[in-house]
């Protein structure tokens, strides 16, 4: 019935714009999703990530731009012809049908023969570990179970693209973390191109092959989790992902960037920004013992502890430097550093390896 189809298609979004009155939900967004990859659209609420997902699904029509699945232009195609599987934030299960009937619905629409249909439904339910629930009514299921039914319904008909709109946000923390792993395993098993929307950066870092950070209707950066975390391209990405301390840098006459008289790095070539910031990840800072030797490979910060919060396996420390800047450091409570001896108001020196520092142009968001 269906001609030879690849297991998954690539998605290319080109210069997509969607506005509501004067408000631009999407501003000439371009993204390429590789076939089979798990790409997360990460951003705060109102960033446009859901609008983009809905555009890919066909639930809103863009003002301009193009969306292609593989080689076909689907920009004007109505949603019921797009052959994408979608999991909604509130699951959107059909309350008047049983679990089985919900999952069978797309197969029934495609007029799949009864035997094959039953087989596919049970296979899908097996994959999400709900085969015993086939005849249950939706209102008898827990949140996690509903989520899995929604998932099964989305991939049972073998779509080449899967879209998920914050599917785990309604679940409690423990269940969410379990489901993250299950979803990742499912993706590996199905090999289907998946676009995943979330505002939770930890979730994005855990699950994705690549992350596209979105804000104000624009893609701020796209890259692997490691790239996004270690090499944020601008201050938005740097502040949205992980906790960071920002320290302004000064340019010296010789084309270098300087902090506290110490030359940190050369001015990166090809960048025209006037001001620069140092971005420091809290877990990269270490305490410096009183009589330790100064190493040229490290950068040092002297200051006073303003806050010390014990948080179980880590402790959060906020330190104010002589120049009035605030550094956030996260210490492992098990390490050799004697956290318990510290107190607020104490003088302390922190250090960071120069290779761990991140430099971003200021004003580039």
């Amino acid at each position: 019935m269906v001609p030879d189809r690849p297991a998954s298609l690539s998605i290319s979004v080109t210069e997509l714009t969607k506005s509501y009155g004067n408000f631009y939900a999407l501003n000439a967004v371009s993204i390429d999703v590789k076939a089979g990859e798990f790409l997360t659209l990460l951003g705060p609420s109102g960033s446009g990530k859901t609008t983009l997902l809905m555009a890919i699904a066909g639930f809103n029509r863009p003002d301009s731009g193009q969306i292609c699945f593989g080689d076909s232009d689907v920009t004007l195609m109505p949603p019921h012809q797009r052959e994408v599987g979608m999991v909604f934030q509130n699951y959107a299960l059909f309350p008047h049908m049983s679990v089985f009937e919900n999952v069978a619905f797309p197969l029934k629409l495609r007029k799949i023969a009864k035997q094959e249909k039953n087989q596919k439904v049970m296979d899908a339910l097996n994959t999400v570990q709900l085969s015993d629930f086939a005849n249950r009514r939706i209102d008898q299921l827990s949140g996690g179970q509903r989520q899995r039914v929604a998932l099964a319904r989305a991939f049972v008909f073998g779509p080449t693209i899967l879209l998920m709109d914050e599917p785990l946000s309604a679940l409690d923390k423990k269940l969410r973390e379990e489901m993250q792993i299950e979803l990742k395993q499912l993706h590996r098993k199905l090999g289907v191109t998946t676009v995943y929307v979330t505002h939770d950066q930890r979730e994005a870092l855990t699950m994705s092959d690549r992350i596209a950070v979105i804000n104000d209707g624009e893609v701020k950066q796209i890259g692997t989790p490691r790239e996004i975390y270690n090499r944020p391209a601008n201050s938005f990405v740097a502040s949205f992902i992980g906790e960071s301390s920002f320290i302004p840098l000064v340019r010296d006459a010789k084309g270098g960037l300087v902090y506290d008289g110490v030359r940190i790095a050369d001015l990166p070539s090809g960048q025209s920004a006037k001001a620069w910031s140092l971005v420091i990840r809290p877990e990269r800072l270490s305490m410096v013992a009183a009589k330790a030797k100064i190493q040229s490979s490290k950068l040092y910060f002297k200051g006073i502890i303003t806050e010390l919060v014990y948080q179980g396996e880590t402790a959060l420390m906020m330190m104010e430097t002589g120049e009035g800047e605030t550094l956030i450091a996260r210490m492992n409570t098990r390490s050799g550093d004697d956290i318990d001896s510290l107190a607020e108001g104490q003088n302390i020196t922190l250090s960071i390896d120069k290779k761990d520092i991140i430099i971003i142009p200021d004003g580039a968001t």
Partner: protein, 309 residues
């Protein structure tokens, strides 16, 4: 001035040895407070008792008395035997069914339209449904009487446009009665149906589309089944109201459409036969309660009904 709330002032002796308030005292205080709140309903209860319970109860007992004041089932027997009574029952049920059916036919598209409108326009359109509501029943019935006359608005309009040639008798018969009653009952169906349609989760419809259902398939396979509780609720309200209706059939029926309520009135006006009239009334009351009881059963089973999809 001590602090006094509904719970009462606690005396030292109310505390047990550990200083905590005895459970019995707490429960008593809570009961007292609940009782005082319930007492607020007493005026309303008295009025309802005086006007509903006592009169209807009296009617009930009257129905079991014959002309001489003795206990008898003669009044009810007459109902099964006299053809005129059976005709009245049949007419009443027919008119109620037809009205309900027509209301569903006309009201469903309207309710659907309203549920699809963006929020800022709904209020405006809803006015057209609410306007009849706060216009007197008598005024509306009168308006139909005038419009449905032989040389009234509708006939003149149709003849001018060539839809038909000679005036059709639209008033003082079943047609007129149905037209008038549908017009009056329509808001009673549209409002609960609209409310039910509003509660349908839009995401469910999007999910259906995403899974491959065309808009028509989504409508029939997902939207309509989910809107059925609203249809049932509205239909029941309409049906029950039609059963006991008096004014519109009396005015627009021209004496040919005799519903139970009209028969009751006629018996009282002509014969002053309280036994017969109250027996009819009891039957009407029982029928009303039966339909409503059936409804509550039916509505609870709706999840089972939907299971057959």
């Amino acid at each position: 001035m001590g602090r006094h709330d509904g719970g009462g002032i606690m005396a030292k002796g109310d505390h047990n040895s550990r200083g905590a308030l005895g459970a019995k005292k707490l429960r008593a205080a809570e009961r007292k407070e609940a009782a005082m709140l319930l007492a607020l309903t007493i005026p309303a209860i008295i009025v309802v008792a005086l006007i509903i319970i006592i009169p209807v109860g009296w009617l009930f007992s009257l129905s079991f008395l014959d002309e001489t004041g003795q206990f008898s089932l003669a009044n009810y027997q007459k109902m099964i035997e006299y053809k005129s009574y059976l005709r009245v029952f049949r007419t009443t049920f027919n008119v109620s069914f037809l009205t309900t059916f027509l209301c569903i036919l006309i009201g469903y598209p309207l309710a659907y339209f309203l549920s699809q409108m963006p929020r800022k326009y709904v209020g405006l359109f809803m006015l057209t449904v609410l306007l009849p509501f706060w216009t007197s029943l008598l005024v509306r019935t009168y308006a139909w009487l005038v419009m449905l006359q032989r040389n009234g608005l509708i006939n003149n309009f149709a003849i001018d446009l060539g839809i038909w040639d000679t005036p059709i008798k639209l008033a003082h018969n079943l047609n007129g009665t149905l037209i008038g009653m549908v017009h009056i009952m329509l808001p009673f169906l549209v409002l609960p149906l609209y409310a039910a349609m509003q509660r349908i989760d839009r995401n469910t419809l999007q999910a259906a589309a995403n899974l491959g259902a065309t808009p028509i398939q989504t409508f029939w396979q997902v939207f309509v089944p989910l809107s059925l509780p609203g249809v049932v609720a509205g239909s029941l309200i309409v049906f029950v109201l039609c059963l006991g209706f008096y004014v519109t059939p009396a005015v627009l029926g021209g004496g040919k459409v005799i519903m139970v309520s009209m028969q009751i009135t006629a018996i009282l006006e002509d014969q002053f036969n309280w036994g017969a009239a109250s027996a009819l009334g009891v039957v009407l009351l029982v029928a009303t309660f039966a339909v409503l009881a059936l409804a509550s059963r039916f509505l609870k089973l709706d999840s089972v009904m939907f299971g057959r999809h």
